[in-house]
Structures are given as C-alpha cells and as structure tokens.
Amino acid sequence: MTTSIIEVTLKPQFRDRHGEHVLHDIVDSGVKNVRTVSAAQVYRFDCALGKNDIQSIAEKLLTDPITEEYRINDGLTAPKSGSRSIYIWLKPGVTDTVADSVSKAIRDLGILTPVTIKTGHRFTFTGTISAVALRTLVERLLVNTMVQEYTVSISRT
C-alpha cells in the first residue's frame, strides 16, 4: 500500500481565475500584503497500484489535457521558493462525494484495484504575510472548520 498525492493545476499559459478571485477576496478583507494566489485540485490515493496506473489515472481522468497539467508526489514536499501553501481536506468521517465519483470513474477505466481516495484543494500564496496571519485568513475565507481541516506548508528559503 503506497500513498500518492496528485496535484492538478492550470497550464502556465492560462490565467488562474479562481486564484485571482481568492486574492480579490483577501484584499477585500483588508489584507494587503498577499501578492499572488494560485489554486490546485489535490487527490490523495492510498492503494496498491503501481506508478504507471497512477500516472494513467492522473492523465486520462483527473486532468484536462487542453488546459491542465499534473504533478505526482511533488507539491507537498516542494513549495516554490518564498511561498506558503495550504492543503485543505475533509475531516475524517465526512463523506467525500468527489472521491466516490473518482472511484467510480477509475473502475470505468477498467482499473478494479481498490483505491482509498481523499480529495482536497491547495492554495499557494506569495507575499509577506506571516504564518499566523495566513491561518487567520484561511479560516476566515477558505476553510469550513466544521467539516474541513488544513495544513500549512512553508518553503525553506
């Protein structure tokens, strides 16, 4: 059983409108020192599938080949220099309906190995915001703490 994290983001040539929308909300809330926000869809797979199968699922199912690209087991350990990322997941025990849909779609691809899936979101921020201020902001704007939990990942440089 291995864990794989798949992150799906827009290709660089496409504007991240959702990230821009979140940035707009941040500015509206009175916080001025966040410079950019980028958004990503995140999937966590716990399963006995090999690397090729995981890659095939990411490519055929989780990514739009026209506008998106994916990374596997990269984002959580390597946030961009000078940035902070938050990962938002549903709390254990909360039904993950997107994960149920993804499981069904994986079976449609002919892959019948059981996969335990969690789905979530990643937001990456650049700017001079402190970790404390970021947590306040995230809890105010992005996370429903009744059903969601989050982790903060900070770049080393």
């Binding site: 496409f14 504007r15 409108r17 959702h18 821009e20 929308h21 869809q41 055929k60 199912l61 989780l62 739009d64 080949p65 026209i66 506008t67 309906t97 997107v98 849909s101 993804v102 069904k104 779609a105 449609d108 691809l109 002919g110």
Partner: protein, 270 residues
C-alpha cells in the same frame, strides 16, 4: 397506415437535470423521445441502434466532480465508445446541450468523431462565477478573412432552418471554449464548424457579459465537418414556447427559436 415517429434517445445519469425538458422539446418537434439511464445501455437492455437521434442533455452529471462532464465523458468513451462513434460516423443527429456539450468535447466526439480524441475543452468562465441569463447568438454564415471572405453558411443539420440571430438562455460555470492550439481553432474556422457565436442584439461580436464565459472567438456551439454532431452551451430546450422568453418573442406563432433546433433534426431523419 400510421407512420412511426422518429425515435430519440436522451441519455441520462446521476446529476442529469434537463432530460425532461429535452424530452418535451423533441416531443413537440415530432419525435418519440425516451429518457434512458446510461446503465440500461451498458447492460444491453437498450440499444443505440434502435434510435435515429441521440441527445446528451444538460445538468451536473456526477456532480461536476473532477470537471464538468468529465466523468460521464470517460464512462461513455470507455463503456460505449464504439457504439457512439458508429452512431456519429453514420451521420445520425447527435446533440449535446450544456453539460452534454462538455461531455461531447471531453470524450472527443467533437469536433472530429472519426479521430475520437479530445482537442478542445470547455473550462471555467473567466468571471469564475456561474453565469445564468439570456444571451444573443449569431449563426455563423460568414467565412473568416483567411478563406478569402467568401460567405458560406455553416453546414449543420440542427440549424438549417433558423434566423441568423437568436437568443437562448445560458446557465453554466464551465462554458469557456478553448482549443488545444491555434491550429485546431483555425481548422474549426476554416471548415465552418462554428455554429453559434455570442453576440449583441445586432449580431456584433463582443466581450463580457454578452460573451458570458470568455470563449475563444466567442464560440457558443460547434459541429463536426459532416454537420450531424452538434454541441452548444445555451439551452434551446428552455425556449420552445414564446412565453419562456422574457420579452415573449416568438419564432412562429406561439413557439420559440429553440424549437427550430429540434425540428430541424426530426425533419432530417423523417
């Protein structure tokens, strides 16, 4: 002897929510339309070959999870791909409305059913919001300058009898048409595969909010080169009677312009 009505299959699944309206539109247009769950086709109790017209209606199939239309597109392609491709290549009318359009492009049945590969998509609106309102659409009748400016009506059986400018309602969060690259977009233009573009009341191409999603070249609907497979983001099934329009505009008597789209396909197969 009573002549049988043309038969239409409307494929539905979890999250489909425009299937009843689509059925009503086809019935008014003169077709016997069945709403069929995808599982009935997969298990073999219903056969696509028994129908003359196929429709994938609007809605939020599988909750729009992953991306709008993505899971249904994958399911159709991997479980029913051969039958769907045969239906399209045989020249039978296929329509995908809103979520159905997203499904058609994401499984690759548009713009080229023979290739059956995804080369275009419908992605998040530029506004990052769900856009729900009436829009104007111009049927493409003018070839782009690259083809020498020759006027050629778009070859699509679904719009053969229509005014050049109509209005229909849109309701989507992921309706921005994007092509894989300039070559794909240019080919759509050159081959006259763009059926509808967003426009103003006079037919002039324009930006937001009249183009509700920021679609490339203001594209609202496309067809294949044969003109039998048609996908569009606006909802023709929501304008089959004039009283459905905010200004009660009518095409013929009490009917709305959306009905023409369904009638064109039904008349084609009669």
């Amino acid at each position: 002897m009573v002549k049988q009505l043309p038969r239409t299959i409307i494929i539905r699944t979890a999250g489909t929510n425009c299937d009843y309206e689509t059925q009503a539109a086809f019935a008014l247009a003169g077709s016997a339309a069945d709403r069929v769950h995808i599982n009935r086709i997969i298990e073999g109790s219903v056969t696509l070959g028994d129908y003359q017209i196929l429709a994938i209606p609007g809605g939020f199939s599988y909750g729009d999870d992953i991306a709008s239309g993505k899971i249904l597109a994958s399911e159709l392609k991997h479980r029913l791909g051969d039958a769907l491709q045969a239906f399209a290549v045989a020249g039978k009318p296929i329509i995908g409305i809103c979520n159905g359009f997203q499904v058609l492009v994401k499984m690759g049945l548009l713009p080229d059913p023979a290739a059956f590969e995804q080369t275009t998509t419908l992605t998040f609106n530029d506004s990052d919001k769900f856009e729900s309102r009436w829009v104007y659409l111009k049927r493409d009748t003018t070839a782009p300058a690259k083809t020498g400016g020759r006027a050629r009506a778009v070859k699509c059986l679904w719009v053969s009898d229509m005014p050049d400018i109509i209005s229909l309602p849109v309701a989507h969060g992921e309706g921005k048409f994007v092509a894989a690259d300039k070559k794909v977009l240019d080919a759509l233009e050159k081959n006259n595969q763009i059926v509808f573009r967003y426009c103003d009341e006079r037919g002039n191409h324009t930006g937001y909010p009249l183009n509700p999603n920021g679609a490339a070249n203001a594209i609202a609907g496309i067809t294949n080169t044969a003109g039998n497979v048609f996908g569009l983001m606006p909802h023709p099934e929501r304008y089959i009677y004039c009283w459905q329009h905010p200004s009660r505009r009518a095409s013929e008597g009490e009917y709305g312009w959306g009905l023409n789209i369904f009638k064109n396909a039904v008349n084609f197969v009669r």
